[in-house]
């Protein structure tokens, strides 16, 4: 068979680095000129590979990393996509508000509690829009009712940052845990897995957190006033 026939096979064999096989191998053992051409091709690919290695593995100048570090100080990391941020904050806020609601529920200022319990000693988060009966007891009235018996109570034990008009939910936390909570919320914005896990666990924790027997107040005993007038005590108060 003419040598020309093996030309491509010869180049392929040199390019792949696999030794000549079958008919080519047989031809190379018999034909000196093709064997010489094959060796030439092998040297060419060896030279190409070593040239590429030299071109691709240049020594990195030691000044590179310090230069980049110096440049970092002038660069701010772009915030995550705008649509993501409100979503994460909203989920985190809703979850936290729900947990706090569960904890604070026995003391929540409903009209019934205001009448029956009198002064409320437990903290109550008053969030505009969360009142169950906004028409009957406005938030401001509820605040007055719950603190009326002990006006200094709230001032002494709570620091109220008056809510600015905002869509962010509010939560009550101990003062020394304020920072920790903010840090946690910041983590949620970067770690969607944490946020998901947090939200997923909330329903399971519901039973553990609800403690309906914490505060037990005996029913107010209503007795008719002496003199036979069967009036409720609260309407007496109104007359005075």
């Amino acid at each position: 068979m003419p040598c020309e026939h093996y030309k491509d096979a010869l180049t392929e064999a040199a390019a792949t680095g696999v030794g000549p096989q079958g008919a080519l191998r047989a031809h190379l053992t018999a034909c000196d000129s093709c064997r010489a051409a094959f060796e030439q091709e092998q040297s060419l690919f060896t030279a190409i590979d070593s040239g590429l290695h030299a071109a691709a593995n240049a020594e990195v100048p030691p000044s590179l990393l310090p230069r980049v570090r110096a440049g970092l100080d002038e660069v701010a990391v772009a915030p995550p996509p705008r649509w993501l941020q409100p979503l994460v904050f909203a989920s985190a806020g809703v979850a936290l508000a729900f947990v706090v609601f569960l904890i604070a529920r026995p003391y929540h200022a409903t009209p019934e509690n205001v009448v029956r319990q009198g002064p409320v000693f437990a903290p109550t988060a008053i969030t505009p829009g969360t009142n169950a009966n906004p028409g009957k007891i406005p938030a401001a009235a509820a605040e007055t009712a719950s603190t009326g018996a002990n006006p200094s109570h709230t001032a002494r034990n709570s620091t109220f940052f008056h809510p600015v008009a905002s869509s962010n939910p509010q939560v009550l936390v101990p003062a020394d845990e304020h920072e920790a909570l903010a840090r946690f919320v910041a983590t949620l914005s970067q770690r969607s897995d944490v946020a998901t896990a947090f939200l997923a666990q909330t329903p399971e924790r519901k039973d553990a957190l609800v403690s309906p027997d914490l505060l037990q107040i005996a029913d107010i005993e209503i007795k008719p006033l002496e003199g036979g007038e069967a009036e409720a005590s609260h309407s007496v108060g109104e007359k005075r």
């Binding site: 180049t11 040239g51 590429l52 980049v68 440049g71 904050f89 985190a92 034990n157 909570l181 910041a186």
Partner: protein, 197 residues
């Protein structure tokens, strides 16, 4: 009794110190990526530009861009892939600039990292071949050039290259094969006229 505060977690998270804490976290994480991938960015740029100073500029620019978009690129493999592509793209842009080309041409005869050959004749021959090889590399289609460059770098498997370039491993293999054959075709005449190293 314990003091309680009413806060808005959302607005607290946006406060200055939280932003600073997040920035510090990002910086720390980025430092790891910088040590790991900085040399890669430089070598990709250097492979295209063949000029240490230009390659350093390009690598720096690519790394700073990566830092700006670091929130999207925190994943390790995503970061590396993005960095390789942006370094390659920036290097190509710079290569196309005629002004830089002139500068580079004067440095061409000094390849950076060849093992010292034995004789003066060998040095001349190997430098000449290296110069031709690198010139011919420039003529390869971009997608072949990047894959060939990465395959010649130490420390990266075919799978990693596939991940960086964003193509299947089979495509990487065939691109390497085609690129080497193209180089051989272009260098064959040259190899016949000069002695190869």
């Amino acid at each position: 009794m314990q003091e309680l505060v009413l806060i808005q977690p959302g607005s607290a998270a946006r406060s200055e110190w939280v932003r600073e804490a997040a920035q510090a976290d990002a910086r720390r994480e980025f430092e790891e990526r910088l040590r790991e991938c900085g040399p890669l960015a430089y070598r990709v740029a250097r492979g295209v530009l063949r000029n240490a100073a230009d390659a350093e500029d390009v690598a720096q620019e690519a790394l700073l861009r990566a830092y700006r978009g670091f929130d999207r690129l925190r994943d390790r493999s995503r970061f590396r892939a993005w960095l390789v592509r942006i370094a390659f793209r920036l290097a190509l842009d710079r290569l196309r600039s005629a002004k830089r080309r002139e500068q580079r041409d004067t440095l061409w005869s000094q390849p950076a990292h060849l093992p010292p050959p034995a004789t003066a004749e060998d040095i001349a021959v190997s430098n000449q071949f290296q110069g031709h090889l690198e010139r011919v590399l420039d003529e390869l289609p971009e997608k072949l050039r990047l894959v060939l460059l990465l395959s010649a770098m130490e420390g990266y498997t075919i799978d990693e290259i596939a991940e960086m370039v964003g193509v299947p491993t089979g495509t990487v293999k065939s691109r390497i094969f085609i690129a080497r054959k193209k180089l051989a075709e272009k260098l064959r005449c040259h190899a016949n006229t000069i002695k190869m190293p």
